[in-house]
Subunit: 359 residues, 2 copies
C-alpha cells in the first residue's frame, strides 16, 4: 500500500492506495469517533458492504448502513433527503463519520450529506470506480444535481481520508472502466506530457485491468490533481484547468438528460472538442490533437457529441458554473500536458467546431 497526502493545511488528508485494502480496520480507525454511517448503493452494497462493515466494527465503531439506488438519478434532493432520514432515524449526532462506499455519485451525494448534516460531519471516501478513484476522491467537491443543471447545489468539503482499493475495479463494468480512463487521460493531456506518453504505452494494460498499471494511473492522477487542489482549493484560478473537456461535456450530459452518457464519456467527447477548438485557434499542433483523439479512441471512448444546433449548445453551456458574467470559458491546450484558460475564445470558431463536433 502507498499513501499520498493532499496538502490542504488543517484540512489535509491521506489517500491510501492499494489492492485489497478496504478490509483494513487501521485505515478507518483514526477517523472514527462514534458511529460510522456507510452510504452506498444497491449494486455496491452486496459486493463490498460486509467487508467494509467488518473493518469498521473491528475499528470499534457502531455501523449504520444507508443504501441508495444506483445511478446518476440518485444524485438529487429526494435521495439526499433519504440519507438525512436514515441519519436522523438512527439519532446520529455531530460525532458521526460518513463512509461513502461507491462511485462518483455516492461520493458526491454522501459528501454533500456530510457537508450539511448538522452543519458538517466528517467523511471517508471508499471509491469503487476508477472515475471516483482518480477524480472525485481528490478535491472536496460535493454536490447534487438540479433539474436545471448538474452539480448546481453543493459544497467544498474535504474528506478526512480516502481508501482507494483497486481490487474493487475487478467488478467494474467495462463501460465504466473506460469512462474512468477518460479522466486519467484528461490529467495527462492537461498537466503532464510524460504521463500522457505513459498512457499511450500502457492503455492496453489498463483496459486489461492489470493492477500495477492501474495503481500507477490512479497514483499519478491523484498526485497531479492533489498538487493543483493544494494551490487552489476553491477553484478561483489554476484548478479550472482540471475542467478540460468539461464545459462541453456537461452540456452533452444536460442535453441527454443525465444518464445515457456517462460523465467520463461526455468528458472524452468534450476533450476532443477542446482539442479541435485549440487547434483551430492556432494553439495546438494538429499532430498533438491527433494523438489525443487516437488515445481516446483506443480507450473505447466516444469522440463525437449528439447532433444539436450550435444555439442549443450555447444555451446548455452558458448554464455551466464555469461561465462567468454570462461569458463562456473554455480550457484549451497549448500542447499535450499544457492546458490554459484563455480570457475569451472567438465565438465564430466555437460555432464552427460545434457544427463539426456534432456531425
Amino acid at each position: 500500500m502507498e499513501s499520498i497526502r493532499v496538502a490542504l493545511g488543517s484540512r489535509a488528508y491521506p489517500i491510501h492506495l492499494g489492492a485489497g485494502i478496504l478490509e483494513r480496520a487501521e485505515l478507518f480507525a483514526p477517523h472514527l469517533r462514534g458511529t460510522a454511517a456507510v452510504v452506498t448503493n444497491a449494486v455496491v452494497a452486496p459486493l463490498y458492504g460486509a467487508r467494509v462493515r467488518k473493518a469498521l466494527e473491528a475499528a470499534g465503531a457502531r455501523v449504520v448502513e444507508i443504501v441508495v439506488e444506483d445511478g446518476e438519478r440518485a444524485k438529487g434532493w429526494p435521495t439526499l433527503e433519504r440519507v438525512f432520514d436514515g441519519l436522523l432515524e438512527a439519532r446520529l449526532g455531530r460525532d458521526t463519520t460518513l463512509i461513502a462506499l461507491g462511485g462518483g455519485v455516492v461520493g458526491d451525494l454522501a459528501g454533500f450529506a456530510a457537508a450539511t448534516y448538522q452543519r458538517g460531519v466528517a467523511f471517508v471516501q471508499v471509491p469503487t470506480t476508477l472515475l471516483a478513484q482518480v477524480d472525485s476522491s481528490v478535491g472536496g467537491k460535493t454536490a447534487i444535481n438540479h433539474p436545471r443543471g448538474k452539480n448546481m447545489v453543493g459544497a467544498f468539503h474535504q474528506p478526512v481520508a480516502v481508501v482507494s482499493d483497486v481490487a474493487t475495479l475487478d467488478t467494474l463494468p467495462e463501460r465504466e472502466l473506460r469512462a474512468g480512463l477518460a479522466e486519467v487521460i484528461k490529467h495527462g493531456a492537461a498537466l503532464d506530457a510524460a504521463f500522457f506518453a505513459w498512457l499511450e504505452a500502457h492503455i492496453g494494460e489498463l483496459l486489461a485491468r492489470e493492477r500495477a498499471a492501474l495503481i500507477h494511473a490512479v497514483r499519478r492522477s491523484c498526485e497531479l490533481k492533489a498538487a493543483i487542489v493544494a494551490e487552489d482549493e476553491r477553484e478561483s484560478g489554476k484548478r479550472a484547468l482540471l475542467n478540460l473537456g468539461h464545459t462541453f461535456g456537461h452540456a452533452i450530459e444536460a442535453a441527454t438528460g443525465f444518464g445515457p452518457w456517462l460523465h467520463g464519456e461526455a468528458v472524452a467527447a468534450g476533450m476532443v472538442f477542446a482539442a479541435e477548438l485549440s487547434r483551430r485557434a492556432g494553439l495546438l499542433r494538429p499532430e498533438d490533437a491527433q494523438r489525443l483523439l487516437d488515445l481516446i479512441r483506443r480507450a473505447g471512448l466516444p469522440t463525437r457529441a449528439p447532433a444539436l444546433a450550435p444555439a442549443r449548445w450555447h444555451e446548455l453551456m452558458s448554464l455551466d458554473k464555469k461561465s462567468a458574467g454570462g461569458r463562456l470559458r473554455f480550457v484549451l491546450l497549448e500542447g499535450l500536458g499544457r492546458a490554459r484558460l484563455p480570457a475569451g475564445v472567438d465565438a465564430r470558431l466555437v460555432d464552427e467546431v460545434l457544427l463539426a463536433a456534432a456531425q
Copy 2:
C-alpha cells in the same frame, strides 16, 4: 453609523449598525461583482424591498428579487428549491451576491442557499428583526429544518457584510420584538453581568423601541457574540455557551411543531429551565435565578413550557445537534454572565426540573 468587525481571518466581515442605513449604496458596493439576488419574504418585500433595490442599483448591480412566504414554514427544502429555481432561471453564476433581506428565517434560508448554490456564493445580510440583528447575523450559521428536527441541514457560511438598520424594527410586531429581546437577555445572562444589569435598567426603553437603547443592545450583543465566534467558529468549544436555553428551547419548538412558539420565546423558557437546573445543581444562587426570571417576565416572554412527560422531553432533546454520543449537554449558569458547559448533569435533577418547568 458604527461598524463592528467580526474577526475571522480571511472570512472577517463588518456589521454596519445604525438607523436608516439600508438605503446606503456604499455599504453594498464593495460586495457586488455582478448580479445581486435579493431573497426576502412576502411581508418584508413591500416594506423595504424597493429601498434596498434602489441602493443595489445605485451601487451598479443588476437586481433579481426572490420572494418566499413568511414564517418558519418557509425554512425547508421546498422553499430552498424555489430559491435555486429563481437563481437558475435568471442564469446567475458564481459572481452573484445574495442579499438576505428579512428576519432569521430568511437569513438562515438565503445563507444556506448562498453556501450551496454552485458550491458557494457571497451573501450580505440585511436583518429586519431584532432576533436576526443580535443573533443570526453573527456567526455564519445557516440551515433549513428537517421534519425530524430544527436546523438539521445546514452549513457554516459567513456573510461578506451585515447591514443592521434598527429603523426597520419600527415595523416589527410586538411579539417578535420581545422574542428578539430573549436573545439579547441571553447574551447578558451567559456572558456579561454588566450588560445584564444594563438590560434590567433599560428594558422599558427597549420595549418602547427607543433607538439609542436598541442600538446599544444590538451593538453589545454583536460584540459579545463576535468575540466568541472569532475564538470558535465551528462550535467545537466556547461557542456552545451561546446555546444557553437552546437545548430545551429547541425541544419546545419541536414539541409544538415549529411555529406556535417563536424561537426567542422558546429560548426564554429554555433559559428559565437552565437557570432552575443550575440552581438545583448548586451552581447558581437563588437570587440570580430570580433576577433572570424577573427580567424575562418584564420582557413579556414565557417562562414555562407546555406540559409534556419527561420521557418525551428527553426524546426531543436527544435529537438536538448539541447532544454528543447520545448524551444530553446543557449550558448552565455559575452566575449571571458566567455560563459553562458541564460534562454531565444528574439525570434525576433534569427530570425534577422538567416536571416543574412544565406544570
